[in-house]
């Protein structure tokens, strides 16, 4: 028993070793073939390892972000370690800038990670990227924002989310107390963590987009690896057929084939690891998500890397054995070959059917998109659907090209007849790209649908030439408000600016003990501004200083129901109102009292840029002295000169000089979660382009290998005078026909998958046809590039060397 087992093991080892020898032996031809396989598999492995590193890259960035967290802390009382921190909101040329004003509040204040010492007033410590930007010509405008502030140090890596992050800590002595954008921290990283807030889990669409994106990006890589292990398959099949001819049994032939595939995949694993290590630093230099990646973060997850190391050889052997089913005993092509067998459709539909079966209950049934199991179900369902595209494509190609006639110009005839003879190689070549495009279309559809529901708030105009400058509630501005508005008007690139002071008003408190006070002490929004500014808020025809107006409703055109019925009714003219009464701990015992003039007129509201509640009392300064407002929010609607693209930066600089805590909101910024989706969308698009490039490289290898297989025929065709152009065009048609069919199938399947996913999250269908066209165009461009790059070899092979038989 033991002896027979040993014998069996020996036989296995011997057969596998023979396969390995076939892979690496056979002279230059064999080596080239194995090298191509190793390169192809290696490219796929490098992508998989990069994907396996994503959790660590994200985890490390989140960990560093959490470690510097200075958000809400539970204990707001000062102590020896406390520090006042205020967040500034001032991106630069649409690049986010993470800025903090810091002011020691205790004897030994907390120091953020990556910072050696806290900057003093007039000093700042900056990230290397920000310091470099400030020192460069591109940072001229940004330097103005920090006029008079010295950079005294840099933020080390542990204090940054990524190497490209623009971040700074600026010392100040003007923060008074918490509130109005100012928080007190006792230690960095001890408070509220963004990732713990459940924000992500509350956005199933986003999670879905990421999951589908990963499946969409990695499925074509799997297809690509399967294709790569089939490089040189025709020659291998002939060799195995010859082995069968001399009496090798089926099992031995399979083991030899397995050994050959194993050698290619193991060499591919080594090549992939080397490529990954070599590409780690260049990849890290690419600015992703505006932050960049630290090379030290690009470390594959150990479990995922192990999975890759095991799955690639196993899958390679599996593919090699599966595709061997057609190898028969034949005397090396001397006998007649039977006409090609038509492919069957039924088993090819099993994959997409299984994928649909997994997704259907979630899209149309009761199953919810919650938890790891649901996530896995989505990933597996999506992957199966996408891999189904690769399975159906050969059948579709067969079905379509068999209907083509043999007419047309010689180049078309050569291409069509070649495809009719066998679509295997063609389908193999484009299957990766087809899967990639299908996945990308589905993700794009999903993202477009999800983003469509995150439209800007109705009262916020989307005019790109308007920005809003606002203070925090309770923020004490150094500059009196009229002065602030005037400085904004005087800013370079500003055409006009209208400012309004907002505060609250309510019933005058009784002040008598035992009497119940109003539920909401500030039910009315109070807006004080000149007539021009007030006209931004409501439709006012006649207006003079001293007038007061009343309006109710948002003024949004898509608000057909009119004012919110829950909103408080307008106070009657002549009512005595408490100005800025405050509430809770901020309540004032004796607020200023103001009487709504009897002349106050009711006006209809207007959609506007200002953030204001639905029930408003609009007063000119002559009617209500702005000095009576205890803690107003100053807001300015600033109109920019469209001819000055940097006008918004000038406004940000002016705002920073008035008070660094002023918000400057440009259209499109900070509206809903668009930026998150844009980031995910950009990341997925970048991934799709990367995968397309890798597949393009593999496709090129595949085409070159096919050309080499046809060397003798090409030489013969050249001998009897076939023009090069004819053969070049025939290669183009031969590639273009499967690509067009593949892309049509990909767009169809991608749209189908996208619709299913949109139904899953209950979002509307809004296909981004331009994006889909761009995507398919990119894939088409990859094919054209591959064809163009293969032409030099085609010309070279059209030489008489291939005719030599001796």
């Amino acid at each position: 028993m033991e002896k027979s087992r040993r014998h069996l093991v020996r036989r296995w080892c011997r057969d596998l070793a023979m396969g390995v020898r076939f892979a690496v032996g056979g002279g230059r031809e064999g080596w080239v073939r194995t090298a191509l396989t190793a390169l192809g598999v290696g490219l796929g492995v490098a992508v998989l390892l990069a994907a396996a590193a994503v959790p660590h890259v994200v985890g490390a960035a989140v960990a560093r972000d959490n470690a510097r967290s200075d958000r809400l802390t539970e204990d707001a009382r000062p102590d020896a370690h406390s520090l006042l921190v205020a967040e500034t909101h001032a991106p630069y040329r649409e690049q986010p800038v993470r800025g903090r004003l810091v002011q020691p509040d205790g004897e030994r204040p907390a120091v953020p990670p990556g910072v050696a010492r806290l900057p003093r007033p007039g000093e700042m410590v900056a990230s290397p990227a920000l310091a470099a930007l400030l020192a460069s010509p591109d940072g001229t405008l940004l330097r103005d924002r920090f006029h008079g502030i010295r950079v005294v140090g840099k933020i080390e890596d542990e204090g940054l989310a990524g190497p490209g992050e623009l971040a700074y800590y600026q010392g100040t002595d003007r923060l008074t107390d918490i509130g109005a954008g100012v928080t007190r921290v006792h230690a960095f990283g001890s408070g509220f963590h963004a990732h713990e807030s459940g924000e992500t889990s509350k956005q199933p669409e986003l999670l879905l987009a990421v999951l589908v994106g990963c499946a969409a990006l990695l499925s074509p890589v799997a297809v690509f690896i399967a294709v790569a292990v089939r490089f040189g398959a025709e020659r291998r099949d002939r060799r195995l057929a010859a082995l069968r001819l001399v009496g090798t049994d089926r099992a031995t032939t399979r083991r030899i084939a397995a050994g050959e595939a194993l050698a290619g995949s193991l060499l591919g694993l080594l090549t992939g690891t080397a490529l990954f290590l070599a590409a780690r630093y260049p990849i890290a230099r690419i600015q992703m998500l505006n932050l960049g990646i630290f090379p030290s973060d690009v470390v594959p997850d150990a479990r995922l890397a192990t999975l890759v190391a095991l799955a690639v050889p196993v899958c390679s052997v599996g593919v090699a054995l599966f595709t061997m089913r057609r190898v028969t005993v034949e005397p090396l092509g001397v006998t007649r070959s039977a006409p090609a067998v038509r492919r069957r459709l039924w088993w090819r539909l099993l994959l997409p059917a299984a994928g649909t079966a997994l997704l259907w209950p979630m899209a149309f049934g009761d199953a919810a998109l919650v938890g790891n199991k649901a996530g896995a179900q989505v990933v597996v369902g999506t992957s199966l659907l996408l891999l189904g595209v690769a399975a159906v494509l050969p059948w579709l190609l067969d079905a379509v090209v068999s209907r083509f006639g043999g007419g047309g110009i010689p180049s078309w005839q050569l291409a069509v007849r070649r495809l009719q003879l066998s679509t295997t190689a063609a389908a193999r070549s484009v299957s990766g790209i087809t899967v990639a495009v299908a996945g990308a279309v589905a993700v794009q559809l999903l993202l477009a649908g999800v983003q469509s529901t995150d439209v800007p708030l109705p009262h916020r105009p989307s005019d790109r030439n308007q920005v809003q400058v606002a203070s925090w509630h309770g923020q004490r501005l150094d500059s009196p408000s009229p002065g602030m508005f005037q400085r904004l008007r005087d800013t370079t690139g500003v055409r006009d600016a209208h400012g309004v002071l907002f505060d609250g008003a309510g019933p005058v408190p009784s002040g008598k003990p035992g009497l119940a006070e109003a539920t909401d002490p500030e039910p009315y929004s109070l807006a004080v501004g000149d007539c021009d500014a007030l006209r931004r808020l409501a439709r006012i025809d006649r207006c003079a200083d001293g007038d007061v107006f009343l309006s109710r409703g948002s003024g949004a055109p898509e608000d057909p129901t009119g004012p919110d019925p829950e909103a408080p009714r307008l106070p009657a003219p002549g009512t005595r109102l408490a100005v800025s009464p405050g509430y809770g701990s901020n309540a004032v015992r004796h607020p200023a009292v103001w009487t709504l003039p009897p002349t106050a007129r009711t006006v209809s509201p207007r959609a506007n840029f200002f953030s204001l509640g639905s029930t408003k009392i609009l007063a000119t300064p002559g009617a209500l002295d702005p000095a009576l407002l205890r803690s107003p929010v100053a807001e300015a609607e600033v109109h920019l000169d469209p001819g000055r693209p940097d006008a918004v930066e000038h406004v940000r600089n002016t705002a920073a000089r008035i008070d660094p805590l002023l918000h400057v909101t440009a259209p499109g910024a900070g509206l809903g979660s668009d930026s998150v989706y844009d980031t995910v969308s950009s990341a997925l698009q970048a991934g799709a382009v990367g995968v397309l490039c890798v597949i393009g490289a593999g496709l090129l290898i595949s085409v070159l290998e096919q050309l080499r297989e046809r060397r003798r025929l090409l030489s013969a065709l050249d001998a009897f005078g076939t023009p090069r152009g004819t053969l070049g065009r025939s290669v183009l048609w031969q590639t273009a026909v499967p690509v067009v069919l593949g892309l049509a199938l990909a767009v169809g399947c991608g749209l189908g998958l996208g619709l299913l996913l949109l139904h899953l999250v209950g979002k509307p269908v809004l296909p981004d046809w331009f994006g889909i066209a761009a995507l398919t165009g990119s894939a088409g461009a990859v094919i054209l590039a591959v064809t163009a790059l293969s032409l030099p070899l085609l010309w070279r092979l059209m030489r008489p060397d291939g005719l030599r038989t001796e």
Binding site: V334, L414, R417, L421, A716, F720, G721, R724, P800, L803
Partner: protein, 229 residues
């Protein structure tokens, strides 16, 4: 100087591949309707001579003249056009385009010369009948026997009515019976159309179909007829 009345003539051909000299001052000529066998052992330079004569490769020195044309002075496109219109080729393994049917293979040189598809296929069908393989018209090369395939290749070489046919070991992959049939059909068809045939072979029984034999050895040519005289 071109021998009087010759259709294709080469003079002083030299060709080397690296350090290996394939042709060393070869002279050659062939007349219309003549069948010349080029004999010689493996690696002697037979195929290189054929490639130089057909304008597939250019010699390092020497000239090849076809009628009034200096083949060695032509550019690649001109030589391709010449091969398309005036030359035909038969190779050892046929080298038929595997994806085209036999009929389309025979019609291909005509199509490349701009003949319309129907006309080219009608003409091709005639040649298949003449070469006794009309029943293979709709089959692909992989579906027919070696002998049939080689006859289809001969039909392809003759279809464009070339003035010179270059046959490189045309029976090398066939049994003797099939080989003889192919040679009979090839030489008969060539003589009927007054085409010259340059026949590269190392088999004496194949060379027997020729009017004249030359032997290539170490890159030099010896005319057997001249030797006899």
């Amino acid at each position: 100087m071109t021998p009087a009345g010759s259709l294709l003539a080469a003079e002083g051909l030299h060709k080397a591949f690296g350090r290996t000299t394939a042709l060393d001052g070869v002279d050659f000529s062939i007349h219309p309707g003549e069948v010349v066998a080029v004999l010689g052992p493996s690696g002697s330079g037979k195929s290189t001579l054929l490639h130089c004569l057909a304008g597939i490769v250019l010699p390092d020195s020497g000239t090849v003249r076809y009628g009034d044309h200096d083949v060695t002075g032509m550019n690649d496109a001109q030589r391709s056009a010449l091969r398309r219109s005036d030359f035909g080729f038969v190779f050892q393994f046929g080298q038929l385009v595997p994806e085209l049917t036999c009929l389309e293979n025979v019609a291909l040189p005509l199509r490349l010369n701009g003949v319309k598809r129907k006309e080219a296929q009608r003409h091709a069908r005639e040649w298949l009948e003449r070469l006794e393989v009309e029943d293979t018209a709709g089959s692909r090369p992989g579906e027919v026997s070696g002998g049939q395939g080689q006859r289809v290749a001969v039909a392809r070489a003759l279809a464009a009515r070339p003035r010179v046919i270059f046959a490189d070991e045309p029976t090398g992959a066939l049994d003797s019976l099939n080989g003889e049939r192919v040679m009979t059909l090839l030489t008969d068809a060539a003589r009927d159309t007054n085409a010259a045939v340059v026949l590269v072979t190392h088999e004496a029984r194949v060379a027997a179909y020729s009017d004249r034999e030359i032997v290539v050895r170490d890159g030099k040519v010896k005319d057997m007829l001249a030797g006899l005289l």
